[in-house]
């Protein structure tokens, strides 16, 4: 065989050829252009179309951006400056309106000397969120906490926060950084207290109101703790009953008595002084925090095999999803007077938060139901086989996986809800897009200023929503447990 082979093959190379550089057209900028922009007739047309779009945008807007005016007292003055500097026909952006009115876009009609309160409350929000949102990575949590602490303190100093508040904020935030390094789960205590602290810092008034709510919850927990030995069910009923009874009948009077005994109050702010992004973020954060648990309960109810519970959940979810948010907001502003006992009149922001929460929770329930349905049946059966009861199975096996699957949907519901907070303008609140902008334009000096406020508020919304969606991508990657 080998002899034959030796005879039939005329030439066998016994050395390797030296490697040669690739042909010119395989690498480099020219190749990239050819492969990515001009690989065929359709691609070339698309490239030209894209270039035309860019040219159109730049040629129309570049002048306008380049001729920006930052210092002026009115739109007329802006136009005069632009005409004087760049000629009569020049068009330019009058960013002076943002410079003059930024505080209204940010804080609405909150008293100027108290701006530090929302700022510190917003900084604390990161401390409260850090153990929940960034529990997976120590490094990222550290960066978030340190940046939040530094930014909060610097901003508070810039808006002229009084020394005691600065010290308070510094202690909490630096303390949080230290605690996070030592024993991060302890931060969850702060997360649990944050809703009351945040409400007190934003609306002000007597701290005894919040403290009495806290005491009611603590006493309810105590009742649960004492009776849990007897029977878990009685314990839950006792805990809820004690909390509700204290909240409804005792807390209000106790808070007033204590306030007259030991005054513990800061300047109270009315809800109609809220506005701008302060309002959007307040409604958004409250809605997000409340709609997730409500959505989980609704999703579980809709998957329940109890006929009545299931049907009630279906009707509720489909009704809420079937009507526009605006109509629900109208219900909040016009119809709640009909549904509540005569003489009840509660805060419009609270009403809006309730409606936004209900609205988002119905969507959330559908997203989570998708996650629950996507879970293999084996997981449910495994939980049963281990002898776990319903709530233990949900808490330990089903929900952690189902929520992980539904993270993209949950976050896009959050983003949608945050964008929808702008609709509060139609029930008379001052949202940053339309409410505050209309208010600014109502002043003669800024009559007719449209584009600058649109761009400013749009950019802030974009930054917040875009970072939320990026965060959900990060979370998805972090939580990925399956091997690919």
């Amino acid at each position: 065989m080998s002899e034959l082979h030796a005879q039939t093959v005329p030439f066998v190379r016994d050395t390797m050829l030296p490697q040669q550089p690739p042909p010119n057209r395989e690498t480099g900028a020219l190749h990239w252009l050819r492969a990515n922009l001009f690989s065929g007739p359709i691609n070339t047309i698309l490239t030209i179309l894209g270039l035309l779009i860019i040219w159109f945008l730049v040629s129309h807007f570049w002048d306008w951006f380049a001729h920006s005016v930052w210092n002026a007292e009115s739109l007329t003055q802006c136009r005069e400056i632009i005409a004087a500097t760049w000629g009569e026909d020049a068009r330019g952006a009058c960013w002076a309106v943002i410079r003059e009115r930024w505080h209204q876009y940010m804080f609405g009609f909150y008293p100027r000397e108290l701006y530090f309160r929302p700022i510190i409350a917003f900084g604390f929000l990161f401390v409260a969120l850090a153990p929940v949102l960034f529990s997976e990575s120590v490094r990222i949590r550290r960066i978030v906490l340190i940046v939040a602490a530094a930014a909060t303190l610097i901003l508070s100093v810039m808006v002229g926060a009084p020394l005691p508040w600065l010290v308070f904020a510094a202690i909490v935030m630096i303390g949080a950084v230290v605690v996070a390094e030592r024993n991060a789960p302890w931060l969850l205590i702060f997360s649990a207290l944050y809703p009351l602290l945040g409400v007190w810092m934003l609306w002000g008034g007597s701290a005894w109101g919040e403290l009495s709510v806290l005491a009611s919850v603590a006493l309810g927990w105590l009742a649960w703790r004492l009776s849990v030995r007897i029977s878990p069910l009685i314990a839950v009923i006792a805990g809820v009953a004690v909390t509700l009874a204290l909240l409804l009948f005792v807390a209000g009077d106790a808070a007033e008595d204590l306030q007259s005994l030991i005054p513990l109050d800061i300047t109270a702010i009315d809800s109609d002084q809220f506005g701008g992004f302060l309002l959007s973020i307040t409604i958004g954060v409250a809605g997000i925090a409340l709609s997730l648990p409500l959505g989980i309960i609704l999703a579980l109810a809709r998957r329940s095999d109890m006929f009545l519970v299931n049907k009630l959940a279906v009707v509720f979810i489909e009704f809420i999803r079937g009507v526009p948010l605006i109509t629900l907001l109208f219900v909040a502003s016009l119809l709640l007077n009909y549904f509540l006992p005569p003489g009840t009149n509660f805060d419009i922001i609270l009403r809006v938060i309730i409606m936004v929460t209900i609205f988002a929770a119905a969507y959330m329930a559908e997203v989570i139901r998708g996650g629950l349905a996507a879970l293999p049946k084996g997981q449910y059966e495994a939980a049963d086989a281990l002898g776990l009861d319903y709530w233990k199975a949900q808490r330990l096996i089903i929900l952690p996986q189902a929520l992980k699957i539904s993270i993209p949907g949950i976050v896009s519901t959050f983003i949608g809800m945050f964008k929808d907070t702008t609709l509060v303008v139609f029930v008379g609140l001052f949202d940053p897009l339309k409410g505050i902008s209309d208010f600014v334009r109502a002043n003669f000096a800024w009559k007719g200023v449209y584009w600058e406020p649109f761009i400013f508020t749009g950019a802030i919304f974009f930054i917040i929503c875009f970072s939320m969606s990026r965060y959900s991508m990060y979370l998805e990657r972090r939580l990925q447990r399956d091997h690919r």
Partner: protein, 418 residues
Amino acid sequence: MSDITAPAQPSFRPSMLIYDRRYRSLTIQVVVFILVMAAAWWLVGNTIQNLRAMGKDFDFGFLWSRAGYDIPSPPIPYTSNDTHLRATIVGLLNTIIISFLGCIAATILGVAVGVARLSNNWLFARLMTIYVEMFRNIPLLLWILIIYAIFTEILPAPSAYRGDDPAWSMILFDNVALTNRYTAIPTLGLTNDPGELDLGARILIDWATIAFAVVLIGGWFVRKAVLAWAQRTQDRTGDRPTTWWINLAIMVVPSLLLIWYFGLHLIPPELKGFNFGGGLNVQNAFVALWLALTLYTGAFIAEIVRAGILAVSRGQTEAAYALGMRSNKTMNLVILPQALRVIIPPLISQYLNLTKNSSLAIAVGYMDLRGTLGGTTLNQTGRELEAIVLMMLIYLALSLVISGVMNIHNNRVKLKER
């Protein structure tokens, strides 16, 4: 062998209502039922008490009284002397019109952008990504306001089109004029008008419209029959007759005949005095809302389409090529049926969102359902409870109809598993 007996069932004790899984669900349902009924009783009781205290009643009689307000360019004849009911119907029709046109335009835009984002043209894919992210992350209200402001602030008054050397000129071959009050578009005219069909309640439908509808729907059924015939022939002989020209002819030729018979032609808008006449003047509130809804929802649909196409694994394409299919057949017979299964359910919810978002017409003053029933009618009659309840029910019915229709469609295109 008969000494193995089932353990004796324990007799029923009240504590089993809580601790026995068989009875616990019953207990829970009874408790839930009582709580819900108590809440409903409380709410209804409060409402009755409040209504009595305000001296009002719960009565929809106001729908039959005179509305007394005008609605610009109503889709059915309407004057301020008509009833609130007719105003409500006009508003509902406006909502349906803007939702329908918005859904169609958003689908076209979304599919185009979704495919473009997957194109291997680096520049164009990046531009489309920027568009999608911009519109997805900024509230719809801002887009509506911006587009409306562009119309009202930048575009000229109709008088700018006047004179021998006008400051502005009409676009699209002198067919469309953009002004700060309305967009003038051409309208359709007939030289041989067969008159109108009176449906009662002053609603008239042109016979020509009916003729076109009949021809198109009839053509659709004939086309289905032709396709069935082609399929039968293919099953019998193995050769599929070429049908595309038959189908094209079925759809096009009768329409062309009708166009020739009725003398259908475009009437472009013309400047008459201070305003455009001849054509159709579409109010800018409508155009701005439609554009904003289209661009906003289009961005979401683009992401859905992209995800749907990416969900079909590349092996499917390669398998189709290996079977010798050409690329359009691969797309129609292999990729699309699988992608549609992923695309259609979220697409339905985008259509629903668009319909509900059309209630943002309040920002530009377009008289949709919320603008008529939930706006002027509510303010004039002071019947908040009735107006809002009715409005919510109508929106709910609209949503259920859309999701019902789309679910039927979804069940037909869905891949049959098992």
